[in-house]
């Protein structure tokens, strides 16, 4: 029943774009609505299935086929359900948002194609979550990855979009290659492709480690762990905003889901698995936020923050793995619960931030934070939603990001307090690293909120902004409400978390109840006290004498809008502190004469990994492989010949070994 519901949800999502395309004859608005209704139906079915699974009624559906690796198994357990919930929530919110953001009447060429790609991406994502068989998993993975490529490149008339799409395609091919190898090894090890926990001691440790390394590379590419994050910023900047929100909110979480699933299948992990994950997590968190701080494009900036948050999740996962290897159940549960809750939270607040940023971009046509400003007056609801998302993503009370970061911190502190030895050294370092990440994220979001929404408009289009339409505001409001709900009443999601932790670790997870209850009280207290003092100040403001004037600019007679502190200047101190890693490109004028002529200043921070490592390496590789071009005949007969030769060679090789 539960699994059947999930499969029905997948069918609805996959059909949403196609059905809308079929109804195109009735006008673009009708097509939009049919697509949205089917996505809503799919989301409802998916949510129902997840709730049933969390209520302990998870089941499996077995389809007998002659495919290798055993019967095709689908299933929904607590871990799948915990990922399903944010996936369906974000898919639905982004779909409603697109009703106003990407109307078929405004984008006649792209809208239909994008709707199909969007539906298939989310359907593939759900299929990944319910797959209990390697082949089904790969099928879902490919569907999601390829459909997402078409979603990212919806506006493919722009050369930047095409380039970003190509980079994404290359990365996702590499990721699938790793996963193919992973499942092949899994098959060799267990004799089946069914994703059930490997019996203890059955698989040699070297094989297990190879599987884990492939998972870290393949899933890490999708999740965007440094240094495999190169596709993420350009793809998020190129995609239509509701697709960026879907990518950043839930698609990259498929990588995290894959990692968690694989490590739950291999219970006897050596220590280095957790240590490498912790190390990669620390690196991603700190570098992700440092790069974000240096960005000018608001969507690229948000994409780098996804890398940071994936790093935080990886810190939690890594600590849980270390603790599992050394059998410290409490630390493992706290860290894993924190990581999983951060997955849910990040899905909510990151898609909220993307949607709010997209509303601003649509209203003004500007993506550079340095050209915006003062938008909060024209778009108060959007500004409030973005502010809420910013507070949540920085991990501040009283919203949801604080709860998940707190759980990870508690796991880290517990290991600092009670454990000694080399194995825990990274955990000690992770505490200040996490706090540094928090501080940098605070600086970065203060910068974005200040530069985009507050102050005076820096351009004429920013001045002319209008509030977003109701569908967009509704989607943002719902996501902001979910962020507040998890922050203020986290006990809502605790049962789901404990069930998911129990699935992964086979341990009871009650240890998270007490801290979560305390945080709930604290967050409510913060909110209540702020409301109290705020109301008192508001009353005083209304009653007492009051006046309004221009901003005090220290005696300067005519402060202009362009004299405001820009976002680049705001980040400059910190960007300079991280110069060794960021390598900013600065194009500054040199003042030579006494009366210098007009000059311009430009600075940007390209992705270090892409520009300094991946691009040169792939250029060198392309040069080296140039002579293989002779094989490309362009004639189908030649390719058939190649296939035949390969087949014969394989037969000979296997015959020789057998």
């Amino acid at each position: 029943m539960t699994t059947a519901l999930a499969l029905a949800a997948i069918a609805c999502l996959a059909a949403s774009g196609l059905a809308a395309a079929g109804a195109r004859g009735r006008g673009p608005a009708c097509a939009d609505r049919i697509g949205a209704v089917l996505v809503a139906a799919g989301a409802g079915l998916g949510a129902l299935s997840a709730c049933l699974a969390l209520a302990g009624r998870g089941d499996q559906l077995v389809v007998q086929t002659s495919l290798p690796g055993g019967a095709l198994v689908f299933g929904v357990d607590a871990l799948s359900a915990l990922f399903l919930l944010p996936v369906v929530a974000v898919t639905l919110a982004c779909s409603i948002y697109s009703l106003a953001y990407f109307r078929a009447s405004d984008h006649p060429r792209e809208a239909g194609r994008l709707r199909i790609a969007y539906g298939l991406t989310s359907a593939g994502l759900l299929l990944v979550l319910v797959a209990r068989h390697g082949l089904v998993f790969l099928a879902g993975w490919e569907l999601m990855a390829i459909a997402a490529f078409f979603a990212v490149t919806a506006e493919d008339r722009d050369p930047d979009v095409r380039e970003a799409g190509f980079l994404y395609l290359v990365c996702t091919r590499a990721s699938t290659l790793c996963l193919l190898a992973l499942f092949a090894l899994f098959w060799i090890a267990t004799g089946s492709l069914e994703l059930v926990a490997a019996p203890l001691g059955r698989i040699p440790l070297s094989l297990q480690s190879a599987i884990f390394a492939l998972a870290l590379a393949g899933f890490g590419l999708k999740a965007g762990l440094v240094p495999l994050h190169i596709w993420l910023p350009p793809a998020h900047a190129a995609a239509p905003t509701h697709v960026s929100a879907l990518l950043s909110g839930v698609l990259i979480k498929a990588g995290i889901y894959g990692l968690v699933r694989v490590v739950s299948l291999l219970p006897e992990a050596p220590l280095w698995w957790g240590e490498s994950m912790l190390g990669v997590g620390i690196l991603s968190a700190v570098l992700g936020v440092a790069f974000a701080l240096a960005q000018h494009d608001v969507k690229r900036l948000l994409a780098y923050h996804s890398i940071e948050n994936i790093g935080i999740i990886a810190i939690g996962l890594g600590l849980a793995l270390v603790a599992r290897s050394l059998s410290r159940p409490e630390i493992a549960v706290l860290a894993l619960a924190g990581a999983l809750l951060h997955v849910v939270n990040h899905a909510l607040f990151k898609s909220l931030l993307f949607l709010a940023a997209g509303a601003v971009v649509q209203a003004t046509g500007i993506r550079s934070v340095d050209s915006l400003g003062g938008v909060a007056k024209a778009m108060p609801v959007t500004a409030f939603c973005f502010l809420a998302g910013a507070v949540a993503i920085v991990g501040l009370p009283p919203l949801n990001g604080f709860i998940s970061e707190f759980l990870i911190y508690t796991g880290l502190l517990r290991s600092v307090a009670f454990e000694t030895g080399r194995a825990w050294l990274l955990a000690v370092l992770a505490v200040p690293a996490l706090s540094l990440t928090g501080g940098l994220a605070l600086a970065c979001f203060a910068k974005v909120v200040g530069a985009v929404f507050l102050g005076e408009p820096r351009s004429a289009t920013a001045r002319a902004a209008r509030e977003a339409p109701a569908a967009m505001l509704g989607a943002m409001g719902a996501l902001a409400g979910l962020c507040a709900a998890i922050g203020l009443v986290p006990s809502l999601i605790v049962p789901a978390l404990t069930a998911a932790c129990a699935t992964v670790l086979s341990l009871p997870a009650d240890v998270i109840r007490a801290p979560v209850a305390a945080l709930s009280l604290l967050n409510l207290g913060v909110l209540a006290l702020c409301a109290l003092v705020g109301v008192a100040l508001g009353l005083r403001l209304l009653r007492g004498p009051r006046g309004a004037a221009g901003t005090w600019d220290c005696g300067y007679a005519a402060p202009g809008r362009r004299m405001q502190y820009s976002a680049s200047s705001f980040g400059e101190l910190l960007v300079r502190a991280f110069e060794f890693a960021l390598r900013p490109r600065v194009d500054a004028p040199r003042l030579a004469a006494v009366f210098p002529g007009p000059a311009s200043f430009h600075s940007d921070v390209p992705d270090l990994m892409l520009d300094r490592v991946v691009s040169p390496a792939s250029r060198a590789l392309a040069r080296g492989l140039n002579h293989l071009r002779a094989l490309q005949q362009g004639s189908i007969h030649a390719y058939l010949l190649y296939v035949w030769i390969a087949l014969v060679a394989l037969l000979v090789a296997t015959g020789a070994s057998g």
Binding site: G373, A376, K377, P380, L387, V391, L396, P397, F406, Y409, T410, L413, R414, V416, A417, F418, L425, P432, S435, L436, G438, G439, L442, A443, F445, A446, V449, G450, A451, L454, G455, E456, A514, P515, A518, L519, L522, G525, V526, L529, C530, V533, L537, L541, G544, P545, R546, G547, A549, G550, T551, W552, D553, C554, Y565, S569, F570, L573, L574, A577
Partner: protein, 304 residues
């Protein structure tokens, strides 16, 4: 906790903090050969500001007023996390030291946002500095707290700084000493005292905290002044509790030792401000990183 404990835990952070500002000002005046303002002057200032009208910039939105409100509330809640004596604190749970840091971060976020809301170049400058320096101060504070966590094996400030504190000093006095020194540097940085920031300067280009609140007036300015006093109190109490490992039985003893310690700390801050000059802004990061390394050494002594 008894009724007296609760009353003390609420009233001391509510009433005492402005006196610390008065003591600092008086110390600085005395050291420079002046008589100085009355010790209670900060209270008079607050009362005066509360009676005044409000002038706001036409550029601003509601965020401009949210800054002072959130700044005060978070500082007060953070102060409630730190115990006054050995008898626990009002806000106490496992991991509350993280809440302490993150509450203050929430206040900082809204203070910075309120500063940027005015659209002033100078306030933006101060906000950028505040954001940058606290990025470096926070890891230093966390290293110092890790020393306490490692020694005490607990995650709540009330327990770490509770009856077991004298025992911690016999266990790991070198680490605790290093942590205390680094916490003092963090206190000066986070509360915008010399050598990081000069609360008395009138040259906007060089200021951090004061320049962020240039546009506030009347009651919101009173909330800001009061809030920064409470923040100083919260950090100060943490430091004072850490370095006074006495057996404190009753509430009165706890309050007396804490208040006396805070007054001494205020005099110390006044002396530091009198004998030191403000650092060049570009050298501030190295001092903060140095403070972080000190407490990192403290942690390594215990972990290694």
């Amino acid at each position: 906790m008894s009724f007296v404990d609760v009353a003390a835990a609420l009233l001391v952070p509510a009433l005492f903090p402005p006196l610390m500002l008065g003591v600092i000002t008086r110390t600085k005046a005395r050291l420079s050969g002046r008589r100085g303002a009355p010790l209670l002057q900060p209270y008079f200032d607050l009362a005066r500001l509360l009676r005044k009208g409000i002038v706001r910039s036409r550029t601003t939105t509601w965020v401009f007023f949210a800054g002072p409100v959130v700044g005060l509330v978070t500082a007060f809640l953070a102060a409630l996390v730190v115990p006054l004596g050995a008898r626990g604190s009002l806000v106490e749970f496992s991991g509350d030291l993280i809440a302490f840091a993150y509450l203050l971060a929430l206040g900082r976020f809204f203070t910075i946002a309120a500063a940027l809301d005015t659209g002033s170049a100078f306030e933006g400058m101060g906000a950028a500095r505040e954001a940058a320096f606290s990025c470096l101060a926070e890891p230093a504070a966390f290293f110092a707290l890790l020393v306490l966590v490692k020694l005490s094996g607990s995650f709540s400030l009330a327990e770490m700084l509770g009856p077991g504190l004298p025992g911690l000093w016999t266990l790991g006095s070198p680490s605790l000493g290093l942590a205390a020194v680094s916490l003092f540097v963090v206190l000066l940085a986070e509360n915008c005292r010399i050598p990081f920031d000069d609360p008395n300067t009138h040259l906007e280009l060089t200021m951090i905290h004061e320049v962020m609140v240039l546009d506030h007036s009347g009651p919101p300015l009173a909330l800001i002044l009061y809030g920064s006093a409470v923040k100083l109190f919260a950090y100060g109490l943490l430091l004072v509790r850490m370095v006074t490992p006495f057996e404190l039985e009753t509430t009165a003893e706890g309050v007396a030792v804490s208040v006396a310690g805070l007054l001494l700390l205020s005099i110390l801050i006044g002396v530091v401000e009198s004998v030191m000059a403000r650092l060049r802004l570009l050298r501030v990061p190295s001092l903060l990183v140095g403070a972080g390394l000190l407490s990192a050494f403290g942690v390594m002594l215990l972990v290694g």
